[in-house]
């Protein structure tokens, strides 16, 4: 009997001749938690998709519990006891938990569902791993953390003892992360083997026994974690160079109030309250971090501030209430918006790069004259910004779709941060970007603040909030649950994110 749950030898996977993985070795010990680290595009997910049977490698061998296997499909992987929890949950939202669990499994009866019995087994399983869940609640009623538990339970119910989790911490609050880790430790002690795919190593460093680092599709190394392993050491393995984790502090003091949001209330698309009496002041030369779990009104707040959604209350700017105007008004007012979703609201993916750069300003000179676009001025402007922001592209005319996420975000930054915006709304500005690109985006946001912009930084990534913010506001259920100084503790923020009221109001 081998002591390895999984061994992948010399795995090479080509995508149209380009290497997704090249000659990667990977070993997962039985009863251990293994971190698979790497930047976006390093080949982590590719490697795991090979293990889960989504892709067939061009070269290499896979051994499961010491036996050579050809994993031709996810069904085969499941029959070998491999389970995968995807980053984007694969759950049917109108269905209940138990129905979702049964979706992937053949019933004991040929035609009838065995709901009650499955529900009972599910409850037992969830007790065992401390993942309490009501099997009859519908998925849409559950929080993201609970949905993740359903995914894990489904995998366990199918008999997985090798579990792959793709970026499991990305959507969780610190408290939920702690709970997840406790569950994972229990599963490990129970003899299960777990792989955590992540590019945020800070979060997993406390739970993993061993890490494998990939870069550019190649294996950088494997390391057993000891108490003296440092974050910097692992980062260097991932990125191949040192990364600026602590940005230089500077002495610029926040200035006067630039935008004052007063008693803002609005409803979301489902007609439910999204913001209730939310008030916030954002100062010049200040980054106000807005921490909170996704879906607590951040999106709606951004929409109100950019004219995409109507609301009650007031937005005071330059001594004038500017609520409920059309989007063009806010653009002219100098409100820049780095949107949460680059692909839907940040860029027109099929439009050329240079035109994406001017979509908010093409009506003005020099980008157009006498009703016609001035291609030359647009191209010149693009060339200037491309050099300034180090955007890697073949040509000004290629569509935005052709660029990597980091380069796409640079175009958004170049467009939004030009012309000294009065207010910059940065909603999840580094989501989905690798460390190198994130660092660049953060530097640019700091630069905008230093040059006088008021910045509202919305992020689910507390690390990011703590790094950049001058003050931190926490949003929960459409309300501000507290405003903290920049040196606030992560657990203090975390409990506000879960809706616990602030004991003593701290206003920095």
């Amino acid at each position: 009997m081998s002591s390895l749950a999984v061994e992948m030898r010399n795995i090479t996977k080509l995508f149209r001749g380009v290497k997704g993985n090249s000659g990667v070795d990977f070993k997962l010990k039985k009863g251990s938690i293994h971190g698979l680290l790497g930047e976006n595009g390093a080949g982590k997910t590719t490697l795991m998709n090979i293990l889960y049977g989504f892709y067939q490698p061009e070269e290499g061998e896979i051994y499961i519990r010491g036996n050579r296997e050809v994993i031709s499909s996810p069904t085969k992987a499941i029959s070998l006891g491999i389970g995968m929890v995807h980053q984007h949950f694969m759950l049917a939202r109108p269905f209940s938990v138990v129905e979702n669990v049964m979706l992937g499994k053949k019933g004991r009866h040929r035609f009838l569902l065995d709901t009650a019995k499955t529900a009972k087994e599910l409850v037992n399983l969830s007790r065992k791993y401390k993942m309490e869940i009501d099997p009859y609640s519908k998925i849409w009623q559950l929080s993201v953390g609970e949905q993740q538990r359903v995914e894990i339970l489904t995998a366990l119910y199918m008999g997985a003892d090798i579990l792959i989790l793709d970026e499991p911490t990305a959507v969780l609050t610190p408290q939920e992360v702690d709970m997840l880790f406790e569950t994972l430790r229990k599963m490990r002690d129970d003899g299960k083997s777990i792989i955590l795919i992540t590019h945020k190593l800070e979060e997993i460093i406390s739970v993993v026994d061993e890490v494998t680092v990939l870069r550019d599709g190649k294996l950088v190394g494997t390391k057993v974690l000891t108490p003296d392993t440092t974050k910097e050491e692992l980062t260097r393995m991932m990125v191949g160079r040192d990364v600026l984790f602590d940005f230089p502090q500077n002495d610029i003091k926040p200035g006067a109030v630039e935008v004052s949001i007063q008693n803002l209330s609005t409803k979301n698309d489902k007609g439910l309250d999204a913001l209730s009496n939310l008030s916030l002041d954002i100062h010049k030369n200040e980054i106000l971090g807005l921490a909170g779990v996704d879906g607590n009104g951040q999106k709606e707040l951004c929409e109100v501030l950019t004219g995409m959604r109507k609301a009650d209350g007031a937005i005071m700017m330059d001594g004038e209430n500017i609520i409920n105007r059309n989007p063009a008004f806010y653009i002219n007012k100098g409100i820049a918006h780095i949107t949460e979703d680059r692909h839907e609201t940040g860029l027109a993916l099929d439009l050329s790069l240079k035109k994406n750069l001017v979509i908010k300003r093409f009506i003005k000179e020099p980008f157009s004259k006498h009703g016609f676009l001035n291609e030359k001025a647009i191209t010149d402007y693009w060339n200037k910004k491309r050099d300034e922001y180090h955007i890697k592209s073949d040509s000004a005319d290629e569509p935005a779709r052709a660029l990597s996420g980091g380069n796409q975000q640079k175009i958004v930054l170049a467009r939004e941060l030009d012309n000294n915006p009065s207010l910059v709304i940065a909603n999840q500005p580094t989501r989905g970007l690798d460390i190198g690109a994130s660092e660049y985006v953060r530097t640019k946001i700091l630069e905008a603040r230093n040059e006088g912009s008021a910045v509202l930084l919305i992020s689910a990534d507390l690390e990011e909030i703590l790094q950049l913010s001058d003050r931190i506001a926490v949003i929960y259920n459409g309300r501000i649950t507290g405003i903290l100084p920049k040196n606030a503790g992560i657990h203090e923020i975390g409990s506000l994110m879960l809706g616990k009221k602030q004991e003593a109001a701290v206003n920095a």
Binding site: R16, P327, Y330, G346, K355, G371, S395, L403, S404, D434
Partner: protein, 351 residues
């Protein structure tokens, strides 16, 4: 620039390939029906280009096809599937006939007024569908299609009823005065000065896509959300786009009345409405591409009619070729996207 040129070369090659594959499959069907494909296609070619007379017919059909395809391409670019070309054509024709028959203007005034009337008729007909979309979120495919039926039956009502030629018993109106008719290029041929319309519109379209409004249309088509975020009023743009799209299509109706039929009659829009959609897509929504594609399709229509007369091959083979091209054009769009995604994976660059 390089990307643009490469892209247009690729588009052209793909369009030609599409046609060739459709013709090959057509050939297989012809031989299955027991005829010689070579003979059929030769007759078809000869039927379209064999004499000055036939060439003239090709152009007669090309004018409305090309004009309508220009019209619908404006809407398509904004991702608005205006398939109501024939309804807008009919409304344009009706409005322009009203000017010609009943206003009694001198011809120097009547012709420009009739052109404007046709644009208003077609424009409002399409603009109405645009308004329904912005106001009630009504799908434009359904509304423009339904408006086609309304226009068709409205036309039937007029020519069987109030506007029927009192001097005859046929369901058609009187002819417009000879002084209003567009001059012919040569006697004995039907091709008329309306051909200038193609040239004028081609220039217009080329400039339109470089204009601020043209860019707004394009941006709305590339993504409504991003357009809204960029400060564009998407609703206004949708209604204006449909107005322009219908106005151009209405011009084709004017052309048919003042250049070919000189009156309203049933079926005046022929099958131009459907074919113009294919022409616009085959031409890649590009003004020059559309001009070439419309020439090809009118040759196919004219040649196909001759082929039916001269050989045993039924005219339906032309319909089949047309259908195949539609299928390929749509499949190509899907295929392109797929290629693009893979290409995309390869092209991703590190920061």
């Amino acid at each position: 620039m390089r990307d643009k040129i490469l892209n247009s070369i690729r588009q052209t090659v793909m369009a030609i390939l599409t046609i060739i594959v459709a013709l090959i499959i057509g050939a297989v069907l012809v031989s299955l029906s027991g005829n010689s494909p070579a003979e059929a296609y030769l007759t078809l070619f000869h039927g379209a280009f064999g004499s000055a007379q036939r060439m003239s017919e090709v152009f007669v059909k090309m004018i409305p096809l090309c004009v309508m395809a220009f019209g619908v391409s404006v809407a398509f670019k904004a991702n608005l599937w205006n398939i109501g070309g024939s309804g807008q054509f009919i409304m344009g024709a009706i409005c322009s006939v009203l000017v010609g028959l009943y206003m009694g203007l001198p011809s120097a005034v009547a012709i420009p007024v009739s052109i404007i009337a046709a644009m208003i008729g077609g424009g409002l007909w399409a603009g109405f569908a645009g308004w329904l979309k912005t106001r009630f979120n009504a799908n434009e495919v359904i509304t423009t299609l339904m408006l086609n039926y309304i226009a068709t039956y409205f036309l039937a009502y007029l020519i069987y009823g109030p506007m029927m030629d009192p001097g005859g018993s046929l369901p058609q109106t009187k002819q417009i005065a000879e002084s209003l008719r567009l001059p012919l290029f040569a006697s004995g041929m039907r091709v008329h000065m309306g051909i200038l319309l193609i040239i004028v519109l081609l220039v217009f379209m080329l400039f339109f896509w470089k204009s601020i409004f043209g860019f707004k249309v394009d941006l709305v088509g590339k993504g409504e959300k991003i357009a809204t975020c960029s400060g564009i009023s998407v609703k206004k743009t949708i209604v204006c786009t449909m107005l322009i799209s219908g106005a151009i299509t209405g011009l084709a109706g004017w052309n048919e009345v003042y250049g070919v039929q000189y009156r309203l009659l049933e079926g005046i829009s022929s099958s131009y409405g459907n074919i113009s959609v294919v022409v616009a897509l085959l031409g890649g929504l590009n003004p020059i591409g559309i001009t070439i594609a419309s020439f090809f399709f009118s040759a196919l229509l004219v040649g196909g009619a001759t082929m039916q007369r001269m050989t045993e091959v039924p005219y339906s083979i032309v319909d089949i070729i047309e259908g195949l091209i539609i299928v390929f054009v749509i499949a190509r769009t899907a295929f392109d996207l797929k290629i693009f995604r893979k290409h995309n994976g390869k092209e991703k660059r590190r920061c």
